[in-house]
């Protein structure tokens, strides 16, 4: 069943707020200059001196702010961030971590979304004795309004450390540091007041994430937000109740530009593409050539980049050498185009993706643990899609069924594919091998046929053969 479109609740910060404006703006820059956290932190202080924005400076700001909030409006110690920095300093000094990970903490009925974390120096740093992480499923394409952000910041200041990371590499908002007794109240507020769910962690489907897609981007070949939302809703059980061999990630890129880097970061990567031709506006091509339209949508700034040279900057850079320009007309041999997007990025008013759009599905990307980092492998070159996305769901379920059966404990899909080989994998999920999914010509000169691949199988009679081929 397709879900929605669901009327999203519009949060009203003025109704949900915990702190007054005066409480939120409770220190001056002068005070900050002379502020010292509870522990001496010379190494951390040194890290503030570099050219980049420093999380240490942010943490100190947050520590001062916390100290000046009324105690009755803080469920955790006002010293949480001081202790956090104190332990960090010690770890830098000793070259050793002091966090204990994992455990049984969570919210009722969910097997993911909360990651237990404890200090192993609870006497020295009591404020971070418990310092659990809460993952919050980000809204589609990370669209927020300020009411949402201010509400969640107030909630986390009140029931957590106030420290957060926007966003984790899976996509979630990561709320860093709270105690076990605060987990259920936080979950209640998130779900009841904010209509926001926890994300995935552990051996679950992780929070699916998508690029901004059709909400803003003219290159989107399908509605990434809708597909992401539909699959998130459809696979709630997989998101919250862990039964996979290991983590599993979906990411949705609307085109091969890959703004959520699905090809590198997800077990099942969806990349928008087209199967007809790149649309060419020849007049606009000439306007680029004559420097009437700035290249790359005007993104090349900061110095004089010289006159646009279509031969040098476009034709010669096409990785498959499938573009030609005779001084008047641009032509593309679309059969050879591998959708690198370079020409479209450089001349967006002249070139656009085709109109017969859909997506490609790739499997098996992962970060290093075994065998090093791995990019996803193109497996379904083209798929037409449309809500309710039954063909996508069918593929997802085949893959899960096989991986749950065959995958070893803690084995990512990509590692399993490496172990069993692509031919076995595609056969298991019912996909025929086609040239587009072959990376290179085979280096093995032998072909091993299976019985079902040979007409007549192993049982054909020699007589029939001899009738055509004499001894």
């Amino acid at each position: 069943m397709p879900v929605g479109p669901v009327e999203q609740k519009k949060l009203n910060y003025q109704e949900l707020r915990i702190y007054s404006d005066a409480e939120l703006h409770n220190y001056t820059e002068e005070e900050l200059k002379s502020f010292k956290v509870k522990h001496a932190t010379p190494i951390c202080d040194d890290y503030e001196k570099g050219p980049w924005p420093s999380f240490i400076s942010d943490a100190k700001r947050a520590a001062l702010h916390r100290h000046k909030l009324p105690k009755e409006k803080l469920m955790l110690s006002p010293d949480v961030i001081d202790d956090f920095l104190g332990q960090l300093e010690l770890s830098y000094k000793e070259g050793e971590g002091h966090w204990k990970h994992g455990g049984i903490v969570g919210v009722f009925g969910y097997g993911g979304g909360v990651i237990g974390r404890y200090s192993d120096l609870q006497q020295e740093f009591p404020g971070i004795a418990h310092f659990h992480t809460v993952r919050v499923n980000q809204p589609g394409s990370k669209f927020y309004d300020t009411d949402f952000l201010r509400t969640i910041c107030d909630l986390w200041e009140f029931r957590g450390s106030g420290l957060m990371n926007l966003h984790g590499s899976t996509g979630d908002l990561v709320l860093l540091g709270t105690t076990t007794d605060q987990l259920e109240p936080i979950f209640y507020e998130l779900t009841h007041s904010m209509e926001q769910d926890l994300g995935g962690s552990g051996s679950n489907l992780r929070s699916p994430s998508c690029c901004i897609g059709r909400a803003r981007c003219e290159w989107a070949c399908y509605d990434t937000q809708d597909l992401c939302y539909q699959l998130t809703m459809n696979y709630q059980d997989e998101l919250h109740r862990p039964a996979f061999p290991y983590k599993f990630k979906f990411k949705f890129d609307g085109c091969p530009t890959g703004c959520v880097a699905s090809i590198a970061r997800s077990d099942m990567s969806y990349i928008g593409t087209w199967r007809d031709n790149i649309r060419i506006d020849q007049k606009a091509v000439l306007a680029y050539v004559n420097n009437e339209i700035p290249r790359n949508g005007g993104a090349l700034t900061g110095r004089d980049w010289g006159k646009f040279d279509i031969q040098k900057e476009i034709i010669n850079l096409c990785p498959t050498e499938c573009m030609f320009f005779d001084g008047k007309t641009l032509s593309i041999n679309d059969k050879e185009c591998n959708r690198c997007m370079h020409c479209i990025h450089a001349m967006p008013r002249a070139l656009r993706p085709g109109v017969d759009t859909g997506l490609s599905v790739l499997f098996g990307a992962k970060a290093p643990i075994l065998e090093g980092a791995q990019m996803a492998t193109l497996t379904v070159p083209f798929m037409k899609i449309e809500s309710p996305y039954d063909n996508v769901k069918e593929l997802v379920e085949k893959v899960w069924e096989y991986w749950m059966e065959e995958g070893k404990n803690r084995e990512r899909l990509g590692e399993m594919i490496q172990r069993i080989g692509i031919p076995t994998f595609i056969e298991a999920i019912g996909i025929r091998a086609i040239p587009q999914i072959v990376k290179e010509p085979r280096s093995n000169p032998y072909i091993f046929w299976k019985e079902e691949e040979v007409p007549g199988g192993w049982s054909r009679t020699i007589e029939e053969y001899r009738s055509r081929h004499k001894r």
Partner: protein, 79 residues
């Protein structure tokens, strides 16, 4: 066909007697399928989810991976 109640009983016996106090979902599936070969993963999951909701089984998560355990066996307190 084994009922959810049957599956729960087998899971519980396994959780009580398994050599380690925490186990992966797959370990549980293989064990159940020894007794009930045609038990589907989906049904085993349904049974284990019920046991979790009843507070008999617990999830043990490292953040990257999740295991199951019997409440009261091994580490089952907060920390």
């Amino acid at each position: 066909m084994a009922t959810t109640a049957d599956l729960k009983k087998i899971i519980l016996e396994f959780a009580e007697s398994y050599k380690k106090s925490k186990f992966y979902f797959n370990d549980m599936v293989h064990e159940v399928q020894k007794t009930v070969p045609d038990a589907k993963q989906r049904d085993i999951k349904k049974a284990s989810t019920e046991l979790v909701n009843e507070g008999v089984l617990i999830f043990f998560s490292t953040g990257s991976t999740t295991m199951y355990g019997l409440k009261g066996r091994g580490i089952t307190n907060d920390e």
